[in-house]
């Protein structure tokens, strides 16, 4: 069993759980609705600030690691291989239209990945479950949502245990690409088979613990949905709807 991945520092501790979820979803929509290229880029900057304020700054670094290869690919694809007027930069010529497109896509990816990882790291399963229970959400749906988010850290910890176990049995994970690739099978196989073997036991336990019973769950110490939280959520959704209308009506 793994420790929960959530952090309860900064804004994440104070905000109502559905506010974080709303921000993550709204940013995903907004990334495609705001005018490119500077809209998505600004959204990315805003996402970085929000995630830092939430007290989960590590998500910014992780998002950067995920984004860098994507950005490089976008730059080559659109900036170097793109058509239209070119800007001569000495060593290479940059497509002006392509650079704009690459910037817009890079901003979208950056914003979505940063805000999603920030939400994931700030997510507190227990607070979320209590919040949605207080709102009368069905237990099946809430549990499925929470357990899905919670499965990843458990899987990562299991992988770490599996690596240690295989190391003690002489499997080497260092070396070149070939050596590492060869080590993947003895690592992944027990990991996947072990996870599958546990599915039955976990399903039995959860059924005995009334997860499948349906009906309303009693919230235990539900978090308060304050007016600033509600204001943030309403503002976000109104903005999304307004931008959708603007996009399709203009």
């Amino acid at each position: 069993m793994t420790a929960p991945a959530f952090s309860r520092q900064g804004l994440a501790r104070r905000a109502y759980p559905l506010t974080g979820l709303s921000v993550a979803i709204a940013v995903t929509f907004l990334a495609f609705l705001v005018p490119a290229p500077w809209g998505p880029v600004s959204l990315y900057v805003a996402s970085i600030i929000l995630v830092a304020l939430a007290g989960v700054g590590r998500a910014i670094r992780q998002a950067l690691v995920v984004c860098l290869p994507l950005w490089l690919f976008l730059f080559v694809l659109h900036g170097l291989l793109g058509g239209g007027p070119k800007i001569d930069l000495g060593l290479f010529a940059l497509s002006a239209d392509g650079a704009n497109a690459a910037l817009a896509q890079a901003g979208r990816f950056g914003a979505i990945i940063t805000i999603s990882l920030g939400f994931y790291r700030a997510f507190d399963p227990s607070r979320f479950l209590n919040a949605v229970a207080a709102r009368g959400w069905p237990m099946h749906f809430s549990y499925l949502f929470v357990a899905t988010l919670h499965a990843l850290p458990a899987f990562v910890q299991r992988a770490a245990t599996s690596i240690e176990a295989q190391r003690t049995r002489g499997l080497r994970f260092s070396g070149g690409v070939f050596g590492r690739t060869r080590a993947v099978v003895p690592l992944a196989l027990p990991l996947i088979l072990g996870a599958l073997a546990e599915v039955d036991d976990r399903a039995h336990a959860l059924e005995m613990r009334a997860v499948a019973k349906g009906g309303k769950r009693t919230p235990i110490d539900p978090p308060t949905d304050s007016w600033p939280d509600r204001a943030v959520r309403w503002t976000l959704w109104i903005t999304v709807v307004a931008l959708v209308v603007w996009r399709f009506v203009r």
Partner: protein
């Protein structure tokens, strides 16, 4: 009186070549700890899964005969008899909700799912934590506990329901000596208060002292049924496969080497009994 009844039950897993249970008829009595014991593959765990309503619903397979738990057919109910049965297995980490932030919330998880009012949940959780001596862990994250602590928390998360039926599959495997003593003391107390406690376990040394009735299964069929102290002291339990306590094994082996009434059946099954006989 019995809350759990098996009548001519047979069961086969979907991939199994033969029936795991064959014509199984027995009824653990309320107020008693009934101990299911048998060699590997005897069907003890399957009995518990069927009583819980998890087999064949979750496991697949085919079942024959009739089963009654708390007056219901566990197969006919839409979900397992959650909240009425205390179900504990040997793998505590797989029985956790996986989403509780603290031990207190973990124990409160099932009552909350059942929709108990919060005024009922709070004292029930506090009592269960106290019973298992884990109240000092109440604010810890479940993921940071040791295996033994986790198992206590899992038992507490069932004890909170004060179930009428306990189905226990190797419930003390992860526990240290003091944890085992505490857990069996709790099960004893539950039985004394009228609960039906059905344990499938190879923990011979502990259950020899705490169980009221021993049912030995072999190839999915009961072959011995009686008081544990009588059955464990005899030769039949060795003939049927599972064996007995270490002291009984010692006496039996000694009896093979030395012809003496001091080593003849009925064998002593505890250290105290051995000392009393061989002193």
């Amino acid at each position: 009186m019995s809350d759990v009844k098996f009548d001519g039950v047979s069961f086969r897993y979907p991939t199994g070549p033969a029936d795991v249970l064959r014509d199984l008829s027995f009824a653990p009595r309320a107020g008693e700890i009934t101990w299911l014991f048998g060699p590997l593959g005897a069907g003890c765990t399957t009995v518990l899964l069927i009583a819980a309503g998890l087999a064949p619903r979750h496991t697949g397979g085919s079942i024959g005969g009739s089963v009654s738990v708390l007056g219901h057919d566990p197969q006919a109910t839409e979900t397992a008899l959650a909240g009425q049965i205390g179900f504990v297995t040997a793998t505590p980490q797989l029985q956790l909700s996986g989403i509780a932030g603290t031990v207190w919330e973990e124990v409160a998880f099932t009552p909350a799912n059942l929709g108990w009012p919060i005024e009922r949940i709070r004292p029930a959780v506090d009592r269960a934590l106290e019973e298992l001596a884990v109240e000092h862990l109440s604010r810890r994250k479940p993921g940071t506990l040791s295996g033994g602590e986790l198992q206590r928390v899992v038992i507490a998360s069932m004890s909170v329901l004060t179930p009428k039926v306990w189905l226990l599959d190797e419930p003390a495997t992860a526990l240290d000596a003091s944890g085992r003593a505490l857990a069996y003391q709790l099960f004893r107390m539950q039985a004394d208060h009228g609960a039906t406690v059905l344990v499938a376990s190879e923990d011979v040394e502990a259950l020899a002292l705490v169980a009221d009735r021993l049912v030995v299964l072999r190839d999915g069929h009961p072959v011995l049924d009686g008081p544990p102290k009588t059955l464990l002291a005899g030769d039949a339990i060795w003939d049927e496969g599972p064996g007995s306590t270490a002291v009984a094994a010692l006496a039996r082996e000694a009896g093979r080497m030395v012809e003496s009434s001091r080593f003849a059946a009925p064998y002593p099954i505890t250290v105290e009994e051995g000392v009393a006989r061989w002193r």
